[in-house]
Symmetry: C2
Subunit: 345 residues, 2 copies
Amino acid sequence: MKGIRQLAENLDISIGTVSRALNGKPDVNEETRKRVLAAAEELGYVANQSGRSLRQGTTNAIGLMIESNKETVENSDNFFLGLTGGLQSVFSRHKLDLVMLPCPSDEDPYEYLKRMVARRVVDAMIISATQRIDRRIDLLVKAKIPFVALGRSSSGGNHPWIDLDFEGVAASAVARLVAKGHRKIAVAAPSSDINLGYIFVDAYRQALERHGMKYDPKLVIRVKSSEQGGYQAGHELLLLDSKPTAIILIYELMAIGLYRRLMEAGVVPGRDLAVIGFREEPRAKFLQPALTCFRMSLRDLGVELAETLLAAMPAYANFYPKGAHNTIWPLELVPGESDAFSLEP
Amino acid sequence: MKGIRQLAENLDISIGTVSRALNGKPDVNEETRKRVLAAAEELGYVANQSGRSLRQGTTNAIGLMIESNKETVENSDNFFLGLTGGLQSVFSRHKLDLVMLPCPSDEDPYEYLKRMVARRVVDAMIISATQRIDRRIDLLVKAKIPFVALGRSSSGGNHPWIDLDFEGVAASAVARLVAKGHRKIAVAAPSSDINLGYIFVDAYRQALERHGMKYDPKLVIRVKSSEQGGYQAGHELLLLDSKPTAIILIYELMAIGLYRRLMEAGVVPGRDLAVIGFREEPRAKFLQPALTCFRMSLRDLGVELAETLLAAMPAYANFYPKGAHNTIWPLELVPGESDAFSLEP
DNA sequence: TTGCCATAGGAAAACGTTTCCGGAAAGCAG
DNA sequence: CTGCTTTCCGGAAACGTTTTCCTATGGCAA
């Protein structure tokens, strides 16, 4: 005999009562509850999750889906691990466990998610790296699995999401450069199929126009968000007919490759070209001259993600009365040397 | 009605037969099996994992425990994500899913593991960052949960583990430096409480003695495995009475801090001091002069870990007849400029 | 025809838990 | 003492599977 039955046997109490005692149900004498808890501690009894889940239809676990394709592994760095701190700090208050579900690189993320959802191994999901059209979102909506997306998407109608403040970053970066006299500002961004690539460049365009400047598609360099992409961006920038005097990078890791290409051509960042990076990245921390960039706390972002998710789960509605909602996550400017010079006389 | 019952209803077949058909059991007509599979595909039916686990006593999931304390987040970089690629490639062949279980930073890893084990949410575990005395190992042995440890430990008797070839690296690094005429070789390592700190320094001592050199405890600088630790190591190195001409770093990230401290003192790495790093680390990739270091493939290590684990699981014994075993994982030398000079005339 | 074996599939138990329901005991007001 | 409420607990059903056991059917040999 095992499990709760064993425990009940030892205490000479019915299993129903043991269960109620352990789960803090009201209909149980405080005296017996103490005995049960003591015995459970003594025997190291913890309820079998499968039995529990089966009966309750709930797993007490939240899934964080991770797409570990090659690019993610290269780029995401400690991104997910950084998030988990914030996520856990919220979840643990509700006795929820976080499980990270890494999608195999040779499997379609949609199919993987579908399997995980169907298996009912978690109660809710956190997905990231959303696409503009993202079937995963439709799937989760249809399956009625609570979820939160890190990244906007036009799929799925009105679902909870958090996204970085691309508009704010673009506006801030452009304003900063314009104030220093720059009039030809390039941007290196991924393809507009990627949400980030689309939204950021649009925000950049609007920021330019607010300053009465003309948007020039030639100054938008489409490359991958990687070191190689940065090198490529540097290369294409040098080939432009009318040279820009500044460039905004959508991901700070690109700066490493960009610097390298520029150095090869004898162009010195921070003197001949102003450079601003988007998201702070440890690997780029040691560049000379230090990169001006935008920073955010992964931990805080994790907390916000967790709370947004719980707010979308009926069972936690009373804790987070705000309900399902969306958030634009602000980033903080960290001034460096890479854009310190001014073109004004 | 839901699940397999619904499916059986639709097909006008008993649920037992449906289950057998889906699980590839022999006692079912090929014709009906086809019908069942088609209907399952059609309806998107996937067996509920809780029901399955409860009945079978198995979860078809392998847990990878992650300790995401602050230091891990800072240092691990893409370590775990890099591993998952290799892990998944093996597990997916056996229809096993990998779940990453991040231990909350404010919870004792031992208690966390205990909870996960008791909940029976995975069939087997992978643990890492083992201590010389590691209660987790005793726990897993006692609970009879198959596991593999990344890192040696004196706990738990004869259990499966994989560890990096510290001896090989120490021998290779020392031999290389000695060949270039170095006679005073320092090493920067963490406290000997940490397994790594203990074993590596011991291997270093043996390597020295094989070359007929004397082990000098003063040349062992105990610092944290981080950038700050590297800076600290540089600082302490400069204070030594008899200056070493070379230093071996136990973790490459330390090189960043070390370089910084050396530069401040006008000591040029690769000219005034030879530097060799241990494990390749993307963030240190951009140092000048390029660091000589030892590299390994995280993916391959993941494959080996997965196979070692499966070999320790009775259910997979026929696939991996080797059974439980241990492996010393070799690393490959990547020559750089940081130790290129020679002291010989 | 009879008997036997192989094949296919149905019925039901079992996994470990939670929760609903009902009932005993005790307390209390009249 | 009676009737009603409250407190506490035991019994049993239910969650969705897999698996064991058993039966029905058909084929085949004697």
